[in-house]
Amino acid sequence: MFPALSFLLLTLLVGTVLTFLSGRWARWVALGSSMLFLLEVSGLLSGFSWPGVSASGVPQYAYAESYPWISLPWLHISYTVGVDGISLPLLLLTAILQLVTVLYSFDERRQPAAYFGLVLLTCLGCAGVFLALDVLLFFLFWELVLIPMFFLIGYWGGLRRRYAALKFFVYTHVGSIVMLVALLVTAFYSHAPSFDFAGMYVPAQALGVTTQALLFAAMLFGFGIKFPIVPFHTWLPDAHVEAPTGGSVLLAGLLLKLGGYGLIRWGLELLPTGLVHDQPLLYAVAFASIIWGSVIALAQRDLKRLVAYSSINHMGIVLLAIAVDSNLGLLAAVLLMFAHGVVSALLFMVSGSMHHTFGSRDIATVHGITPRTPVLSTMMMVGALASLGLPALISFPAEFSALLATWDRLGYWVLVPLLLLVVTAAFYLWMMQRVLFGPTEGVPETARDLPWPEALAMSMLVALTVLYGILPGLLTNVIIHSPVYGLP
């Protein structure tokens, strides 16, 4: 069978390297390779058929490949990749965001080759994480994501970029270390025959309750920092505020999803008992993130910070959906991650454009921009409405299923996220009232509406927001081809 996934990774790698080397033409190379990426992923989607669960109850994967890599008497590591309904939508998200990011920053002037190369490298890493089914391979790609993002923030970022980049690096690195330990312990203490997912699946589930609980808690910390979960979230606002727009887009759109995906793939699937045992902790953390993110967002003046905190709130809902451990919840989690990926990307692009259109992202000083920049205003409006969960836009079906799943497990506790939806609506509406409406203030004479690359990138995201909002079936029909079935 044709090694589709390896081919995908290979083309990504080649594209990245070429971009780094192609100097003035970098943006075109990047654009081309992004389109190819999207093309390949759509190919995967069209040919996707999930082989289901094997006789021994181990979930299997489409386009699966496995080649031995490192083999010692006590250590069996392989290059194993494959996709199922959980990873495929996220892979699609990666392809989409890579394309729009390249498009959005098409006019990047500072070291374009390096910039686009790093963007592509980040996406390569994310794609790898979503594809990898072996502990080492997974961790390898996981770490690989870190470096380009560090440089994107540290070199192209804002005034406090050094601080932000370092903070981002430290937090996520510490997180990934704890995660690695948890994965290693899972592999060794369960005496799994090999480090690949299939090899660990049955032994890991056979681990004792206490072990599983501890391991899952460790994974919650490790993956949670990427989520990010309160109180380990403070790297996120700084990173977002300082990062260049492209960086923020990838950060919010993809990097946060790595945490969610990892927790599902390596936590929920390998350590179900641990999950159940840790549920109170999970609920506490999720509620904390939901409340904290939403409430603090209300006080923000910097649009990027505001969106960053709303991301914390949304990812809290994702965590909640994972925590309830039902097939509806899992579906909601993946759907919501996809939705948040698209919407937050849109909102960060809006913030970025706002910054270099008006020279400020301060929603307390820039007012009534609508007459001057109608297109930008429309984008901001759609983004905000999508993010506050308006029906017929992408987030609604996801949030609806997530909250329904929560109600199903937690009963009236669901009022917590529900009421916070009001707060979320409140800070978005207030933001719109201040920035879009009212008499025009703080808008420099030179302010012009969006340049075409930004407009194009954003309109693509808007189109997706509407498309998947009206036809969520396009996604859910993929997602259900995964262990979503198997969950009790």
């Binding site: 904290w292 603090i296 097939n327 017929a392 609506a425 509406l429 969520p472």
Partner: protein
């Protein structure tokens, strides 16, 4: 009958056509200068929609109240035999044509079309017309979708969409800070209701997931109607407390949309929008959606007695409460807005008392005469450019048609025979009266409703006399008013006709089949006649009082120090509700958020920075041990040796002897 099935199957055109108009006007609007920036496009689509809507309604009449349900799966999850949704779970979007939705279709499409037409004249001088017509079309689409919804989720979906349309249209004059903030307020207050509604949906969905036919409710997409039978959760059994809670949550949602107490604050402020919008959205259709929801719920899901009492209480109280605030207001639109709240209270009251159909009957008539009142008021504002009643006056001569229209609307609202309002309101009061024997607890609310008749007649005619009667305008600076073009007067006349005749339609048997069930058309026994007499008397009294105080250019001013003074102040401050909500929202929530932000910056991040500094300091300290003097290094080495010896020769053996290691 073949063409019936034919058009039912095409019911989805009703949301689709205006949606199409939304896209066209939204994209091409700015190019279509000739067509009033797309206005005529919207009107055209509105007309087509009206034709189809009315046609479908007529067919529904002829098919004598059948159900026609079309379903399109939105998304679904396969079941895994366990959990709450063992047979999976599917969310559908469908079009359900049944009597009451047909009735609503008439209201929405007819008023919608008339308002669009009227806008051509009314909005002519405003900027941003493409936006206006696009959003109005989108609203029509969403409203039709809502009316045709065949399950709660879809209902909620369109419910939110009409909400956001109202948000945009209230904020149409977004340069005005007051408009922007009113829009936000409307969205947020209704959002509170929406949250309760959503939770209610959860309760129903989770409780009855497996009830009903074939695979259960969940697997079939939670339809209102299964196999031509109402789903009637109540009948499915299930824990009564759960049902009650679910019902209350639905009521919460309805209260938000229909501006019932205590979520009523947003509607008067919503008058910041263009008057046409107030007429269509905030009088005739969207705000009535709450009542429609209650009716649907009572028909297809069923309420428990506890729910009914709560609904009655809310409705009865709101009708009175809102009317009182209308008594003193000086803004012509706000007066009508308060009367809308109060009339919606009537409808809620009726539904609660178990007469959903009567409630809808009143909704039907109210839609026409309230839209008429707003459009007439709009025509006045268009002419004189102010909304302050105390600046107007004597417009009756210069604007005959408008004056006539407003008069018709006012009489209909006050419930003077034979205007439309009379029949429905009378029927409503009579029906509620009928339940008092079995539910004496309804008494106070019935009395409130009855008293409201008097207040209503008073405040609407106070407005009428202030605006139209008297010799001339009180404010000479105002432009000399004159009647507008046919696009505005035409709809006024059409609506006047409806405001007069609509109340009699149910006497046509075919039409009555749209309102199946108790008391339609009204049946007049002795007690009913007596009651009509009383209410007519009250209304007449109200009108009389209004005339004696305000007629012929008189202006009544109660001495502020008199007993009425403080009351007046209280009413003008709207019982301080808005202030209270602002306090909660701004000082409460925002303050909390600022506090949290402080904690974030200085405590959570502070800890991190503390750690950072600690490491840095440690590193610096240690580095300076490295003196560069070789003998120091030797000293360190030797001391290290001593430590090792100490450990291996003394400590370790001791530990071993004590079993430490």
């Amino acid at each position: 009958m073949w063409q019936a099935t034919y058009l039912f199957d095409w019911a989805f055109l009703l949301p689709l056509l205006p949606a199409l108009s939304f896209v066209i006007v939204g994209l091409l609007g700015p190019r279509l200068k000739r067509l009033e920036h797309g206005g005529w496009v919207a009107v055209g689509f509105g007309f087509a929609t009206m034709v189809i809507g009315v046609w479908i309604a007529v067919e529904e009449m002829l098919s004598s109240g059948g159900y026609t349900d079309q379903q399109y799966t939105w998304f679904s999850i396969p079941g895994n035999g366990t959990g709450t949704f063992p047979n999976g779970f599917s969310l559908v979007v469908g079009t359900l044509v049944d009597p009451i939705s047909a009735l609503m279709l008439i209201v929405v499409t007819v008023v919608g079309f008339l308002v669009l037409l009227y806008s051509i004249g009314y909005m002519h001088h405003d900027g941003g017309l493409p936006r206006y017509y696009a959003e109005l079309s989108l609203f029509l689409a969403a409203m039709n979708g809502l009316v045709l919804s065949d399950n709660l989720l879809e209902f909620f979906l369109f419910w939110e969409l009409v909400g956001v349309c109202s948000y945009f249209l209230i904020g149409f004059y977004y340069e005005k800070p007051s408009a922007a903030s009113a829009a936000k307020e409307a969205f947020l207050v209704t959002r509170v209701g929406d949250i309760l509604f959503l939770l209610g949906i959860f309760v129903y969905f989770a409780t009855y997931a497996t009830s009903g036919s074939a695979g259960g409710w969940a697997a079939n997409g939670f339809p209102f109607v299964q196999g031509n039978q109402p789903f009637l959760a109540g009948a499915m059994g299930g824990h009564s407390t759960t049902l009650t809670i679910a019902g209350l949550l639905i009521l919460g949602g309805a209260a938000g949309k229909s501006a019932q107490f205590p979520l009523h604050v947003w509607l008067p402020d919503a008058m910041e929008g263009p008057t046409t919008v107030s007429a269509l959205i905030h009088a005739a259709t969207m705000v009535a959606a709450g009542v429609y929801l209650l009716a649907v719920a009572s028909l297809f899901l069923g309420f428990t007695p506890a729910d009914q009492l709560a609904i009655v209480a809310i409705g009865g109280f709101t009708s009175f409460f809102a009317a009182t605030m209308a008594l003193v207001n000086t803004d012509i639109k706000r007066v009508i807005a308060y009367s809308t709240i109060s009339q919606l209270g009537y409808m809620v009251l009726a539904v609660g008392a178990g007469f959903a159909m009567v409630g809808l009957y009143h909704l039907f008539t109210h839609a026409f005469f309230k839209a008429l009142l707003f459009l007439a008021a709009g025509s006045v504002i268009h002419a004189v450019g102010t909304q302050d009643l105390f600046k107007m006056g004597g417009l009756g001569k210069s604007m005959r048609i408008t004056g006539f229209a407003f008069l018709v609307g006012g009489l209909s609202l006050s419930g003077i025979v034979p205007f439309a309002g009379f029949w429905s309101k009378d029927d409503l009061l009579a029906s509620v009266y009928g339940t008092l024997a079995t539910h004496p607890v309804y008494w106070p609310f019935f009395l409130m409703a009855l008293a409201t008749v008097f207040l209503t007649a008073y405040y609407i005619f106070r407005a009428f006399f202030l605006a139209f009667s008297g010799p001339a305008s009180r404010d000479p600076t105002l432009p000399t008013a004159h009647e507008a073009s046919w696009v505005m007067t035409g709809p006024l006349l059409a609506l006047s006709g409806l405001a007069m005749g609509a109340g009699l339609l149910p006497f046509i048997p075919a039409f009555a089949s749209l309102l199946p069930g108790a008391g339609i058309p009204p049946h007049y026994g002795l007690s009913e006649l007596a009651l009509s007499g009383i209410s007519l008397g009250l209304a007449a009294g109200g009108i009389g009082l209004a005339y004696s105080l305000w007629g012929n250019g008189k202006v009544y001013t109660a001495a502020p120090n008199s007993a009425l003074g403080p009351v007046r102040a209280l009413l003008l401050r709207r019982y301080y509700f808005k202030d209270a909500y602002d306090a909660i929202g701004l000082r409460g929530l925002y303050g909390l958020s600022r506090a949290a932000d402080f904690v974030e910056r200085y405590m959570i991040d502070g800890t991190v920075h503390g750690l950072e500094r600690a490491f840095g300091g440690l590193s610096n300290r240690l580095r300076h041990i490295e003196s560069g003097v070789v003998l120091d290094y030797a000293a360190f080495l030797v001391s290290g040796l001593l430590f090792l010896l100490l450990f291996l020769l003394v400590i370790a053996p001791w530990l071993v002897s004590t079993g430490g290691i």
